[in-house]
Amino acid sequence: MYKELHKQTTFAEIAEMIEPDSHVLDLGCGDGSLLDLLRTTRQVSGIGIDIDEEAVLASMERGLTAVSGDLDQALAHYADRMYDYVILSQTLQVVKRPDHVLEQIVRVGKQAIVSFPNFAYYKVRFGLLFGGHMPKSKILPYEWFDTPNIHLLTINDFKTFCKIRGIEIVKAVYLHGKMKKRRVNAFANILAEEALFVIRKT
């Protein structure tokens, strides 16, 4: 339930960032609910990519265009600026080479939208500091041994990466709390549970 609500709020935030009638590539599209939402509310045309067969099938059941693919390899053939937006929602932390994937999405998309759980969130910090265990939270529910999240990062890590690689941060939205309300930017690296960035190559 929490997960559903959380997803809906994040998706609504993403939808707000997208211009109507644009062309969207959704990486790690899951069951296609984000693309479905964008199709209804923003009239986008889009393609979803996912490594999971059930995700591709669920997306196709909604009448979406979906492709089986491993994000670490599935982007190189796309032309530069082929999509208005490339979306990487809650997926950056599961790929083998986030650096390569980020370079690809800002090449293929005129803009890219990236969301990820912030590993510097204070509850995560407390979990490690006082609990002495790998932190778990509602957005990071896995055990250390079964987590798909192989490259966890913080808001500051992401900002540093963008700076070094010449990627412009067009917009940042930090989310926190049960209803995932927007938070002020101050102390975001500590207070935000999840971050949403719009980036592009300058």
Partner: protein, 382 residues
């Protein structure tokens, strides 16, 4: 029979159409001509008043027009894709009018090397012109014309069927609204051509083949059984064979230390080979494998570029591959998908993880069924 009727198209009949008669021969890609041409086909379901619900199914190497249902009450086995086609099935005959015809060069009712040459009144044998995937599609086009169908809801097929689907969407972009290519490729790999070559050699080096003239003696050519055995190895996978046969012996006990079929895999292949002789013509095997070897969509429609070949395609497309298929590996489907995407087409692609190899497209597979059903029901959606 009641059980059969609820999920089956029931008793069906193969129909025949003859065209390209007297002075209007069918011109082939190699510039040769055939006249007349008979095409064997079956249809299921009802053509809608607006004639827009037809789905053309195109078959693989050893397939025929008999996709679904039974030919008689006593028929033991239904058509070759009965699990896919029927009332309430992924290709739902309550919604769609389904057509399938035997390919040109075939031996199941459509004109091929075993048909009589009208000039000599004897079977063509190897005097039959070498036909291509394009020629097969041309015959299907003539069939649709005669049925009054100029728009297809979809055209779909696996393996060699997938090649015909590509030919359809590239040659006639305005006819199919959608297309499904399963376990196929835009051009055979060297490895696949190699297997075809060995299969053909098994036939042509068999004295019974007699340079293709065997129809007035015995049309069972043992070399064809060898070709089929080899084929079956390429349709399975190492893991699939291990699961199903392992090293099991036909009769439990010790080795016989004789040269007869002892392992279950041997018995299986021997059975597949010899039962193939009951229903298939050796010359057709030569012609149809050759047609597959020649097919190259990128060369034919894109001057060597598969991306260019997809440029004019208007059909919505859905590609499916199977992870354990080493005859038409997933890599080749990925190549088609990426080329189509680079040509600006929106295509769906499902890579199904299964141990059953190339044969998977003919086996019960819920993920394949679900993908086909979803795709077909959203063809008209923007």
């Amino acid at each position: 029979m009641t059980e059969r009727n609820t999920h089956s198209v029931g008793i069906v009949k193969t129909l025949k159409l003859t065209f390209a008669e007297n002075g209007d021969p069918l011109l082939l890609e190699n510039s040769q001509k055939i006249s007349p041409v008979t095409v064997a086909y079956e249809t299921y379901g009802e053509l809608s008043d607006t004639r827009d619900n037809a789905i053309l199914i195109v078959h693989a190497l050893s397939g025929d027009a008999h996709v679904a249902g039974y030919h008689s009450e006593s028929d033991r086995k239904p058509g070759w894709w009965d699990i896919m086609v029927g009332p309430g099935k992924p290709v739902d005959t309550n919604r769609y009018f389904v057509i399938c015809s035997n390919v040109l060069g075939g031996c199941q009712g459509t004109t091929g090397p075993s048909s009589n040459d009208s000039a000599t009144r004897k079977p063509y044998g190897v005097r039959f012109p070498v036909v291509t995937i394009g020629d097969m599609v041309e015959v299907q086009k003539r069939l649709l014309d005669s049925l009054g169908i100029n728009r297809l809801h979809s055209v779909m097929g696996g393996s060699m069927g997938g090649m015909q689907v590509l030919e359809w969407v590239m040659k006639y972009p305005d006819i199919p609204k959608s297309a499904i290519v399963i376990a196929s490729c835009a051009a055979l790999s060297a490895q696949a051509i190699a297997f075809d070559a060995v299969g053909r050699s098994a036939i042509t080096s068999d004295p019974a083949w007699n340079a293709g003239d065997y129809y007035d003696t015995d049309s069972r050519i043992p070399g064809l059984a060898v070709a089929r055995m080899l084929g079956h190895i390429t349709y399975l996978s190492e893991a699939g064979m291990r699961d199903r046969f392992g090293r099991k012996l036909k009769e439990s006990g010790d080795y016989a230390y004789e040269f007869r079929d002892e392992f279950e895999i041997e018995t299986y292949l021997a059975y597949k080979g010899s039962s193939f002789l009951d229903r298939f013509d050796a010359n057709t095997y030569l012609y149809v494998t050759k047609a597959m070897d020649y097919f190259d969509a990128g060369a034919k429609y894109g001057n060597g570029s598969l991306v260019e070949a997809f440029r004019n395609v208007k059909a919505k497309m859905f590609f499916v591959s199977f992870t354990s298929d080493w005859l038409f590996p997933s890599r080749q489907s990925v190549e088609m998908v990426r080329s189509a995407e680079q040509a600006g087409k929106r295509v769906s692609y499902l890579n199904i993880d299964t141990p059953y190899g190339h044969d998977s497209f003919l086996l019960p597979c819920d993920r394949l069924f679900s993908g086909v059903q979803s795709f077909l029901s959203h063809v008209d959606m923007e």
